[in-house]
Amino acid sequence: MKRIAPWLIAAALALAAPLSQAVTLRVSNQGDVQSMDPHSLNESLQLSFTGNVYESLIERDKSMNLAPALATKWTQQSPTVWRFELRPGVKFHDGTAFTADDVVFTFKRAAGEGSDMKGYTNPIKEVRKVGDLAVEIETTAPYPILPDTLTTLAMMSKKWCEDNKAERPVDRRKGIENTASFKANGTGPFRLKERQPSVRTVLVKNFNWWGKSESNVDEIVFTPIGNDATRVAALLSGETDVMEPVPLQDVERIKSAGINVLQGPELRTIFLGMDQKRDELQFSSVKGKNPFKDVRVRRAFYQAIDEETIKARVMRGAALPTGLMVGSAVRGFQADMNKRPPYDAEGAKKLLADSGYPNGFEVGMNCPNDRYVNDNAICQAVAANLARIGVKVNLMAETKVSYFPKILRRDTSFYLLGWTPSTVDSHDVLSAIIATPNEKGQGQFNLGAYSNAKIDELTLKIQSETDQKKRNDMIREAFKIHQDDVGHIPLHQQALAWAASKKVELTQLPNNYMYFKWITLKSK
């Protein structure tokens, strides 16, 4: 044995040398991507991660401006018709060429049953192939923000989907999975090599990518690590190169270890929603009626929440309290309306008493514990705030894997959610969060089914209005109604916090998307 040892070491070194040249980037996140299907869930992490494998017609560049991706050029033929020239020579990972047929197919898939992207396809009337590398998109009404919405719609291969029986999107709500959950065939700079849900997902460089990659990374290993301390430990010990989100309490510790912490304002607004549809709440002590139908109860909840203390204590200052459902970087933000009613427990108590609940009531609350920054702690703080006005909150905090399917089925009375308008436009929030839910995909994330006909009307008008001044006035009006109705209770915009070892150079987008093509790994 002893004699063989040096020889073995030499052999091992010889073998290891060529392997070590492959640059591997290890990324960890607090939660896993729900599936590999880019149409299955309209959630930032899902879209961000699959956005490395799949691409859309138009993308956002490093300063969030629109940039050509699979479409090289787009022109508006008429108020409702747009023409897109597709990029020639693009190949899917399996080698088939990307053509107009794939675009037509993708829109059909994203508009079909099980898709979570209906909100984006809803204004589209028809997608027509007008050549091998050109399509026309016709909208039902003028839709000026169409290019913005297209940035979130990833193109899939018609042939691949049909061959793999993945014509319909994965629907996590109903537990429907298909090949697209575990395999992927996009056009993007990275290919899916290995997928083990909740364990690890491996991407490798696509050498046939049409673009010129800035990145020198050959392989990306994505590992979800739910426990904050474990994730931090992994970063400190060098087990992982990039990590997100950084637990706020550990920012100082990580910085002192010589690791970069990238913090920036995020477009995401964290808010609370209330079931305003059912005649009796599913999870409450109040029987026979729904207290949330009374605007005074909703306002009482709003005033009872001490957001400033939540910001200072739970968020350690890394949040921007908000009175609007959108942050300042989003088109349609109204600076003068961004005011929260002052924290007023006494006033809230009185409002509750006026609405017939002098002793408060009990209500169940759903909360994720691995989705947003300190989400569980925010919910606990809200529960403590509400206890002061006599409302007993039965908090159910759970992992997003069980949380999202549950609240998307609307099995909730009171919940916490965060929303990033992926079009960076107020219309996205109005359409997805505030408008009355309908079959066409409006209000898809309006899980408490808040409803105001005037807002629905305005939302449709905003969608097609091209005059910026008029459009802004309508957004303003809609936000005003929503504020007066207390349709939702906005809390804050959280701050982004990524951490990356000194070797890593990356670009952080305010929508919290992490594109691996913009990450370079220096050799020490």
Partner: protein, 340 residues
């Protein structure tokens, strides 16, 4: 767990020698006939070997006092604790993450500091210990009932039934007990995702009791097999006493010694098992946090320097488990006639 295995061997081996001490050992067992002990009995206890051994063992005295203190603090938590961490209305978020009172920035209001929601750590520990002790005690009781019952039947009836029960025991022993508990708790949580607190408690208690009964069954079976051939059992059989009655009234009191020792130690094991399950997130619900839940929560704050959220729950857990273990150790020695 290994530690306990050794105990079992010991405990089981007490039984043969314990035959002549039967009348004395019956005193220790819950005796249904004499509900209130007579004064003479109490005096005899104070005068006996048992009490003497206790008085002359400083370890036993300290362990008993510490265990008793923890028990009292836990049981009367709602009276003694300076705050009620479950009364959300009294929480001050602005008092969150305060260090212990003797440190800079600490407040006299919160002796051991506060957590990220402004809960007083000391009070939370008392309430947490209550849940830990309750779950520990209940699961030991459950495994005791199952284990003693099966052990008695197995040892007394013998034959195929004995072989069957013992093989089941062997199978159970070949799994790490925490694995069985994890499996059961995991399945339980999957089956009742919206379980209320009570049901969640039930699942955890059963999950811990399930691998625990084997120890009792084996100890009791050994003792029972020895007792079965004794004259008093033979006599009872001859005059036609029903087997069930013989087992419960005649054999059981005489095999309770080892069981008593075993269960003291098992309480500590069960508390640790519960803490492990809660730490791993499959224990009791987070709304009624046990010590394990606290350690898990505190763990997240470790890097930020909030050591008091981990050290205190951890120390409490060690204190409870250690004192019960030391007491159990002494109890084993005191009840082992070979060591007298």
């Amino acid at each position: 767990m290994d530690h306990v295995e050794v105990q079992v061997g010991d405990a089981a081996s007490l039984a043969p020698a314990g035959g002549n001490a039967a009348p004395e050992r019956r005193d220790l067992a819950p005796e249904p006939v004499a509900a209130t002990p007579s004064p003479g009995r109490w005096a005899r206890f104070l005068d006996g070997d048992f009490w003497h051994s206790f008085r002359s063992s400083p370890t036993a005295i300290v362990a008993a006092i510490v265990a008793l203190l923890c028990l009292v603090a836990a049981v009367f938590a709602n009276v003694i604790a300076p705050h009620n961490p479950f009364d959300l209305a009294t929480l001050e978020l602005s008092d969150s993450m305060l260090p212990p009172s003797w440190m800079q920035g600490g407040s006299a209001k919160y002796l051991l500091g506060t957590d990220e929601q402004g809960r007083d750590v000391l009070s939370a520990l008392m309430f947490g210990a209550r849940i830990s002790l309750f779950v520990g005690g209940a699961s030991v009781l459950l495994s005791l009932v199952i284990g003693v019952g099966l052990g008695l039947v197995s040892g007394y009836v013998g034959g195929r039934l004995d072989a069957l029960i013992m093989r089941v025991c062997d199978v159970m022993l070949s799994f790490p007990s925490i694995l069985i508990a994890l499996l059961f708790a995991g399945v339980g949580h999957a089956l009742f995702p919206n379980a209320n607190d009570l049901l969640a408690f039930g699942v955890v208690i059963v999950a811990i009791a399930l691998p625990g009964w084997v120890q009792y069954a084996r100890a009791v079976r050994g003792s029972t097999m020895v007792e079965r051939s004794k004259e008093y059992v033979q006599a009872a059989r001859v005059i036609g006493v029903a087997p069930l009655r013989i087992m419960l009234r005649h054999v059981l009191p005489n095999v309770m010694g080892p069981v008593l020792v075993l269960s003291t130690i098992q309480v500590a094991v069960a508390i640790l098992a519960e803490a492990t399950l809660s730490f791993l997130g499959v224990g009791v619900s987070p709304t009624s946090p046990s010590l394990g839940t606290f350690i898990n929560e505190g763990n997240k704050q470790l890097f930020s320097g909030a050591w008091w959220l981990v050290i205190f729950p951890g120390a409490t857990l060690v204190l409870i488990a250690l004192s019960i273990n030391l007491f159990g150790d002494w109890l084993r020695d005191a009840l082992n006639p070979r060591l007298r």
